[in-house]
């Protein structure tokens, strides 16, 4: 009787309905992630996997200069991408939220998201065409007479990776900031102006603090996936622009060393999580200080 009553309750129905999706995520996400974690403590000798638990991979990953360099570089590049993307995105989100008439806002947001949905591979490849030695940018600048020699610092290095990823992740930064700006009660801004603040101080003391949750979301949404990007460093990065995902792929598919690849994947996840938590923690403090 009690069971039947429970089965009719909201909670039971909710669980029942959410269970196919939740089970799918459990089986295909949680289990594989656990497997990667286990693998990182195992070792591989050619085709046989030695399942004795050891920290050998972690010691190697942390002491080998190549792995360390790739980790640091991935964090550096991701941080640069995040900074560039969010700084470039904020004015756009601000413009659409505050200066575009209400009925045209969806159109702007749609226009901003379209390039993001078109073939990622081809977009990245075209940046190679734009930034190359005989590329669109160089020939244009030379044609106009701004430069005499083609610029070489913009392809096959970390700069190229930053430019290309800043392009690829633009909507990820714009949308959360836009949503946060949309939520701001416009009368607060009027109140601030009425109370004698200038437009600039109103922006820094009212608008920006209220938009901070969106900015934080944008930072996380850009920073976390970019650290694991594979295509961009491979196509436009050159040897000095490769990142940790390229090494993870090499370990799995070329060197046939899945445990080492797993270790690097786990370390990458740990680093991303740690940096994200520190960032969110710092902002909590900052936001509380504002009150």
């Amino acid at each position: 009787m009690k069971l039947r009553q429970y089965l009719r309750s909201d909670a039971a129905r909710g669980y029942l309905l959410v269970s196919p999706t939740a089970l799918y995520a459990l089986l295909l996400l949680a289990v594989p992630l656990a497997a990667i974690f286990a693998f990182s403590f195992w070792t591989q000798d050619y085709l046989t996997i030695d399942k004795t638990w050891t920290l050998k991979n972690y010691r190697e990953a942390l002491s080998e200069p190549l792995y360390r360099e790739l980790m640091f570089r991935s964090v550096r590049i991701s941080a640069a991408v995040t900074l560039a993307t969010v700084l470039l995105a904020f004015p756009i989100a601000y413009f659409v939220s505050f200066h575009v008439p209400k009925e045209r806002k969806s159109l702007w947001i749609f226009l901003i998201t379209i390039p993001f949905w078109t073939s990622y591979l081809i977009r990245v490849f075209l940046w190679k065409v734009i930034l190359g030695y005989n590329g669109v940018l160089n020939t244009t600048l030379q044609g106009v007479g701004i430069i005499d020699e083609p610029l070489t610092f913009i392809l096959y290095n970390a700069n190229a990776v930053v430019i290309t990823l800043a392009h690829a992740f633009a909507p990820f930064a714009i949308l959360p900031i836009f949503v946060a700006l949309e939520k701001i009660d416009r009368s607060l801004l009027e109140a601030s102006l009425d109370l004698g603040e200038s437009k600039v101080t109103t922006f820094f003391r009212v608008t920006l603090p209220l938009a901070m949750p969106g900015v934080i979301a944008a930072v996380l949404i850009v920073f976390i996936p970019t650290i694991g990007d594979y295509v961009t460093p491979r196509l436009v990065g050159g040897p000095n622009g490769l990142m940790i995902a390229n090494m993870i792929q090499t370990q799995f598919l070329k060197l046939n060393n899945a445990p080492m690849g797993a270790t690097l994947a786990v370390l990458a996840m740990l680093i991303v999580t740690a940096i994200s938590l520190v960032f969110v923690g710092l902002n909590r403090k900052f936001l509380r200080g504002q009150k």
């Binding site: 909201d10 799918y24 594989p32 004015p91 601000y94 413009f95 969806s106 081809i122 020939t139 594979y230």
Partner: protein, 268 residues
């Protein structure tokens, strides 16, 4: 003028966003094997060459099969989760939904290698179905994001009215709920299809011997003489994505209007 500088900046930024897409057709119709300025002349040769590559055709068919299946499965899973989240209160809802949405922020390479490890450990052979498994995982969060607004805008009193008038839960769902959220479902199908068709990393790891379209494209990027054909193919793909997205946006807006909600803009 209000926001004058910002407007100039916004237009410049849109140019930056659209630069690769604008260049794509220019090189696809350019009569030269080297992708660079100055342009040589107009040709449709690269497009006609597309018809003569059997490997490309099987990759396209493979990708279509994967994309359609992914779109359907992830939308069904999305409907379950979005409906549960909008309609019912249950302990641990936030945590469960968070776990389901996690692939949205997880680097794709992590999803790809972790699935690969498990599949190989289980001794399963790779193929289209393993790519589908991975794609459903990353498409479901997008489906949920789209369907959430559809289900949240739903007026519960309409369903109650239907019960009062003697309909069963199933017929109510079929006759009342489903038609109201249909635009959201179509939009979710289109988005799932688009994401799956374009996804590279997971397919790269899990595809086995039969490449999907992006994996095929990737293999061609290594050969300079094949690049113009890739540009032609890319032009068609971009056009297709834009058409699909415009349809998805149309249905999404219609759905919001139908449910009487207010448009908040954007898919995410």
């Amino acid at each position: 003028m209000k926001g004058g500088w910002l407007k100039i900046y916004a237009i410049g930024y849109l140019l930056f966003l659209y630069a690769p897409i604008i260049l794509l057709p220019i090189f696809a119709f350019n009569d030269a094997t080297i992708i660079a300025f100055p342009l040589k002349g107009f040709t449709t040769q690269w497009f006609s060459e597309l018809a003569t590559i059997p490997a490309l055709h099987s990759a396209v068919l493979n990708s279509l099969l994967i994309a359609v299946t992914t779109a359907v499965v992830s939308t069904v899973l999305g409907v379950c989760a979005a409906r549960a989240a909008a309609r019912y209160q249950f302990p641990g809802k936030k945590g469960i939904m968070g776990a389901i949405m996690l692939p949205l922020v997880l680097p794709e390479i992590i999803v790809a290698v972790s699935l690969l490890v498990v599949l190989l450990q289980l001794g399963l052979s790779l193929g289209a179905w393993t790519v589908i498994l991975g794609h459903v995982l990353i498409c479901t969060p997008f489906s949920i994001a789209i369907l959430n607004s559809a289900f949240q805008n739903l007026d519960m009193s309409m369903e109650e009215a239907s019960y009062d008038l003697g309909e069963t839960p199933w017929s109510t769902f079929r006759l009342i709920t489903l038609p109201l959220v249909m635009p959201g479902i179509i939009s979710s199908l289109l988005i799932g299809f688009t994401i799956s068709l374009d996804e590279f990393i997971i397919a790269f790891f899990l595809t086995g011997a039969e490449p999907t379209l992006p994996v095929y494209l990737w293999s061609q990027l290594r050969f300079p003489q094949k690049i113009p054909v890739v540009m032609a193919l890319g032009t068609i793909l971009v056009l297709l994505s834009i058409i699909l997205l415009t349809m998805a946006e149309y249905f999404r807006r219609r759905g919001i209007a139908r449910a009487g909600g207010k448009d908040t803009g954007g898919f995410l």
